[in-house]
């Protein structure tokens, strides 16, 4: 039921793990099914220099987190904020209709991490 891209990202997730010296962290939960994603970002000169994720969820949730981190790594914060769930699903080669909701956490978590980063640096 999943595309080859999804299975590849599920089997060999990119940027999975933790980051000890992260500049910002964000947790996003999916209330409809109980999945959770955590995103860590390291920012330098307004660019996402490094990104890591951890996801508790189904194949679609893990694969969308993985591909989304790949898509925004090296992008400016403004560019990264524009990432949409549609783009993530397209990049995955599509998802079964019932699983699309599983991919929304990725974009949300990235946005929240960037917001957290900006909030924190405003204070400094």
């Amino acid at each position: 039921m999943y595309s080859e891209v999804v299975m590849d990202h599920f089997t060999n997730p990119r940027n999975v793990g933790e980051m000890e010296d992260a500049d910002a962290v964000a947790d996003v939960g999916n209330l409809s099914c109980g999945d959770t994603t955590r995103i860590y970002i390291k920012v330098k000169d307004d660019v996402i220099e490094d990104i890591k994720f951890k996801t508790f969820g189904c194949g679609a949730a893990i694969a969308s987190s993985s591909i989304a981190t790949e898509m925004v790594k090296g992008k400016t914060l403004d560019e990264a904020l524009k990432i949409t769930t549609e783009e993530i699903v397209d990049a995955l080669g599509g998802l079964p209709p019932a699983k699309v909701h599983c991919s929304v956490m990725a974009a949300d978590a990235i946005k929240k991490a960037i917001e957290n980063y900006r909030e924190k640096n405003k204070e400094d």
Binding site: Y2, C33, G34, G57, C58, G59, A61, A98
Partner: protein, 386 residues
């Protein structure tokens, strides 16, 4: 790659002996059983023989067996048919919160038709309490429907006791025996069942065929209108090869039940014990003892069920899960929910149901690959702290 099929409660492969019997009715004896000439009579004979076999195995009379398209139709026929045929006596139905959707959703449909349904709760182990059932009884209760064995957690329900009470009170009792027939004794008199559903493809027979036992004298309104087949109760040209295969599969299942149960119980307990020994934060769902011989249902904290199934599938292991993400409807298992299993455990539940082809080596293989799979997914989970 090694392949281990552990989803026998979903369906089973058709046994070669069954295929062989069926082939005769797909090739030589392909006639319409309602026809008067010999080709039709040959087909009729096949159906009659299958009906006699199944009736005998259930402790019933052949006239009390109505072939259907499977367990779901049998359940619909029983519940809807008994409710509509007896609604002048009352409109109250009792069932349980852990029935198969074939019963559960039919009861919900009947609620919309003006019936009142009590959905009995279950213990944390997934077993209905007879006291709760007795307390739910009313003057206007016309039908009680309780499954013999739960399809998700394998718990064996106290249907004998419930049936005895129904018999005393003259209430129609339906038993969904789809998951029990062929694994534990199913006798309509011992269970005091007036209606009883079974299915062929759970016992190494073909898909698309099952039957409803209807005790003589039980009023049941039919679902379909048409010809005179199945004594007018279930019109439509019979699935002859399917019915013949069903008869053969049932005969073999009952013949081999004793040794098969013994073998599967050993494998089941080995699998449960092995997983509990090798993996932390694990929970066995259902009752450890009052459990059908082939069911293993376990939950792993911090791991999501669908991810587990995908990972198992990559290792050639085929299983199922009660996770919301595998249901297609986003609803987590209604059975585990009714048992009060905490959400994080429902999300990480896996059902493995054993069958006649499984071996000790299969279990060793599962126990070898399972811990790494859980470890890998937990490593990825933000909820997990080592």
């Amino acid at each position: 790659m090694k392949r281990v099929y552990l989803d026998h409660s979903a369906t089973t492969p058709v046994r070669p002996e069954v295929v062989e019997e069926m082939m005769k009715y797909l090739t030589d004896n392909w006639g319409n059983p309602s026809s008067v000439y010999s080709r039709g009579r040959e087909a009729r004979k096949g159906i009659d023989e299958a009906r006699e076999k199944i009736a005998h195995l259930l402790g019933a009379n052949p006239q009390e067996i109505i072939f259907t398209s499977g367990g779901t139709e049998a359940d619909n026929y029983a519940v809807m048919g008994a409710a509509f045929a007896n609604q002048k006596k009352g409109k109250h139905i009792i069932t349980t919160s852990i029935e198969h959707h074939a019963v559960l959703d039919t009861c919900k449909f009947l609620e919309r038709q003006g019936f009142e349904v009590t959905f009995l709760p279950v213990t944390p182990e997934g077993i209905v309490r007879v006291e709760d059932f007795e307390r739910a009884l009313r003057q206007d209760t016309i039908l009680v429907s309780v499954m013999h064995v739960n399809n998700e957690v394998g718990t064996i329900q106290p249907v004998e006791e419930i049936g005895r009470v129904c018999r005393e009170k003259g209430i129609i009792f339906h038993v969904d025996a789809v998951q029990s027939f062929g694994k534990i004794p199913v006798n309509v008199d011992e269970l005091n069942a007036d209606l009883l559903s079974i299915s062929a493809h759970k016992i190494y027979g073909p898909k698309g065929v099952g039957c409803l036992y209807i005790r003589k004298g039980t009023k049941v309104q039919k679902l379909f209108y048409g010809g005179a087949q199945e004594r007018r109760r279930r019109p439509g040209t019979e699935n002859v090869a399917g019915i013949v295969g069903f008869g053969k599969a049932a005969e073999l299942a009952i013949k081999e039940m004793g040794e098969e149960t013994e073998k599967l119980t050993k494998l089941r307990d080995k699998l449960i014990a092995g997983l509990q020994e090798k993996i932390s934060d694990i929970k066995l769902n259902g009752d450890p003892v009052q459990r059908i011989c082939n069911n293993v249902n376990v939950s792993f904290k911090y791991v999501e069920g669908e991810s587990l199934l995908l990972s198992l599938d990559m290792k050639g292991i085929e299983a199922s899960s009660g996770s919301a993400c595998t249901s297609g409807s986003l609803d987590p298992s209604h059975v585990l929910t009714a048992m009060g299993v905490p959400f994080e455990f429902i999300h990480g539940s896996v059902r493995m149901t054993l069958g006649r082809d499984n071996t000790e080596e299969d279990i060793d293989y599962v126990l070898e690959v399972f811990p790494e799979i859980v470890d890998r997914l937990r490593e990825m989970s933000p909820l997990y702290n080592k």
